[in-house]
Symmetry: C2
Subunit: 450 residues, 2 copies
């Protein structure tokens, strides 16, 4: 249903029609629609609650999970304890936890008051897992079966727990809570009802531990094309699963984070259009200031050689080009390596392979650019042979150094547990700028004997 | 099984043990292991074929799909027609197509000769879809049901086709080949065998068209948390589905591509460590050359103002800082917008929202940095008031312009169907560099009345 039509139905008080339209919709779209209407002030808190209440219970709860925390707070405050309990019962535990993490304290305590002690315990456990750990993104709603039971019994258990999501298409076989195998729903469907689970289970189980990085969990799921990957605790007992939809979100967030950090922005998982100007400012300004300050080093180098500059002002002309090309050669290498690290294509043990490969690439690039530049300076810029030698010689060194620095720093960062992406552009660029200028003037002094 | 142990078993000719070890392994790991052994020359073509032949048919076929094309070619060449046919029968159509796309022509024709005409027709159809279209990543193996049949009949159909992957957990309900609904395996399991499919099907179908961008398909799948998204042709007939595992690969590849392009590298979907030095060189050098050439503009500006530079050499000192900060302010905006566009958080229609938001952010950033810089120049660099005014004034303008250019260009690129990522660093940086220098010297002339 288009927003305008919904607004029209609302203003003309055709609630029955509105209700039918909404019932036809997908929970995601309902959340988006209500969100847009709310932000455009077509909906007040009262109307939002009213529309929400006309939705069938299950659809309502699902739509709820897709809403912005802003609208969720409005609804929760409007809910009676019974309504709140009804919604929470419909929610998946991990969704409840995601919601709680966004909520103001008073709302959180109200949510917790309205969950039974067992759920509350599980919620608190989930909240306890370190941010960005596999435990923090897993759901505790999965089907586990004992290996002795029959397919028939397995089905009746599945029907009993009746989770309504992909989470049940793989069942996890346990032996005193330890994960010993997996069995897909399909295998059960195609086997005789009397078959015992252990006969059809796959004992070759891929799993991650609760404290593994959530990105590692998502990468593993993707590597083995799993719909869900089991998460086990220190005693190899299965405590949850990470499903493909959460894995996709993790991979998307991590990629966005890397890009942000590479561009010198503190990452945020809030959509751009929903982030306030001040928040964006706060995420960007520290890095810009850092750059202004770090640029002091380049200034120092330039002051150091003010005499030479005054003597041969022609030198100035090439400074932007030297620094620009150096910076880009560096980020070509760093970005390649950073991405390789985050999708597990490269690990620290490859460091020498990488350096050797980058060195050869750097050499080829450096020769090419230096040659082109040399000719350009001689015949296009009509400068003397000495200048041409100094500039293209400098560029050669700068490109080689830049690619070395660019590929090495991210790997070292990874090794010491820092975020490799931080090593992209800004930092590396500053380092390279300084080196470029130093090399440049040392060469200049030597060749032009100033 | 560890590589060394496998090599040892191989060298000591303990094939039985080797076979058992392999049978215990996951197809992905088998492919990785054999690949490593082959590249380390622990395996010749003969041994590779030999080891492959000891694997059970189904496991072998699955492992085959995860191998590098290099080893796939070796095996295909070693296969008898019967073996080849056996493998192809086990493969999913989309996997077969992926393999074919990597193969030399002679191998391709051999593969096609060994597929029945129906399969060959489907393969050719899949190969016809434009690169990066939803059609090119979909699989044509999905279960479709007529809405009149009962759950019971549905199950027997599922058992009959017996696909061994997630592809069957959602079945697609068709009415003379048009897609009219979906029904999840779970819904079928929990309903009475006599229920008719149309009673339990969900008529609210999310689908994409064969020619939609593969990234759009993956984003939609992720937005609605679907395990698979149906792909329909111009007549709304379902022709295939994109499953979550392929969607994940698409999203990962697209993110890697964006990062590469942002860093001025021509993207490649080959893993870094498997890409030859020359290929990497080819992907990077054109952009570096482009930068060297485009830097000509900055040089021109500098030559234009050589007189002023000679007069006040102190001006030179701040050039790197001005250009560096300008470049980064710009890429902060461009990278944010580019990412927003590719994960569908931002669309072209938001352009004015975005510009207005970036303008306010830019103003805040510019004021802050200019102020800090002003004081730094006065009290740290001990320069005169005029210099401080010129430099911080320039920086203010540069930051505002940079953020404007940075957020606008990618959106325009998107509008004209170009890749927004191309608008990141290199291009924008050059533009901003030139503007920065122009503003700088105009200010300088005015204030320092040179």
């Amino acid at each position: 249903m288009k927003k305008d039509y919904a607004v029209e139905l609302l203003e003309t008080k055709q609630f029955a029609a509105l209700k039918n339209e909404l019932n036809e919709m997908n929970p995601t779209d309902i959340a988006v629609l209500l969100g847009e209407m709310y932000e455009a002030d077509d909906l007040g808190d009262r109307e939002l609650t009213l529309l929400y209440r006309v939705l069938p219970k299950e659809l309502a709860a699902e739509a709820f999970t897709y809403m912005d925390s802003e609208q969720q707070v409005v609804l929760i405050n409007a809910f009676s304890d019974n309504e709140l309990r009804a919604v929470i019962d419909e929610l998946y535990l991990d969704d409840t936890v995601d919601i709680i993490e966004e909520m103001p304290a008073n709302v959180v305590s109200r949510i917790l008051q309205n969950t039974d002690s067992e759920t509350r315990k599980q919620i608190n456990e989930l909240l306890d897992y370190p941010k960005d750990s596999a435990g923090s993104v897993m759901t505790t709603e999965f089907v586990y079966l004992h290996k002795e039971i029959t397919v028939q019994d397995a089905f009746s258990k599945i029907r009993r727990v009746g989770y309504v999501k992909e989470t049940i298409y793989t069942c996890y076989v346990t032996e005193n809570r330890k994960l010993v195998g997996t069995v897909s729903l399909l295998d059960m469907i195609v086997s005789d009802p009397e078959t015992r689970i252990e006969e059809i289970m796959d004992t070759n189980v891929i799993s991650v531990s609760t404290h593994d990085d959530r990105e590692a969990a998502a990468n593993t799921l993707s590597k083995y094309d799993l719909a869900a990957i089991p998460v086990v605790d220190a005693e190899a007992r299965i405590v949850g699963i990470v499903t493909f939809d959460d894995a996709i979100d993790v991979l998307e967030e991590e990629a966005s984070e890397d890009m942000a950090v590479m561009a010198a922005i503190s990452p945020s998982d809030k959509p751009y259009l929903k982030t306030s100007v001040y928040q964006i400012y706060k995420a960007r300004i520290p890095w810009l200031l850092l750059l202004v300050i770090s640029a002091t080093f380049t200034s120092m180098v330039l002051e150091l050689f003010e005499k030479e500059l005054a003597a041969v002002t022609a030198l100035v002309v090439f400074i932007p080009m030297l620094m620009g090309t150096g910076g880009n050669s560096g980020s070509q290498s760093s970005v390649t390596v950073i991405r390789g690290l985050s999708i597990d294509e490269i690990s620290f043990s490859d460091i020498f392979k990488v350096i050797w490969k980058e060195f050869r690439v750097a050499f080829l690039c450096a020769v090419t650019i230096a040659a082109v530049l040399f000719l350009k300076i001689l015949y296009f810029d009509r400068q003397g042979l000495n200048i041409a030698l100094v500039v293209s010689g400098t560029l050669f060194v700068v490109v080689v150094v830049a690619k070395f620095v660019g590929c090495t720093l991210p790997m070292l960062a990874k090794k010491i547990g820092a975020d490799p992406a931080v090593m992209a552009s800004p930092f590396i660029t500053t380092i390279i700028d300084v080196i470029a200028l130093l090399v440049y003037f040392v060469f200049a002094k030597a060749v032009l004997n100033i």
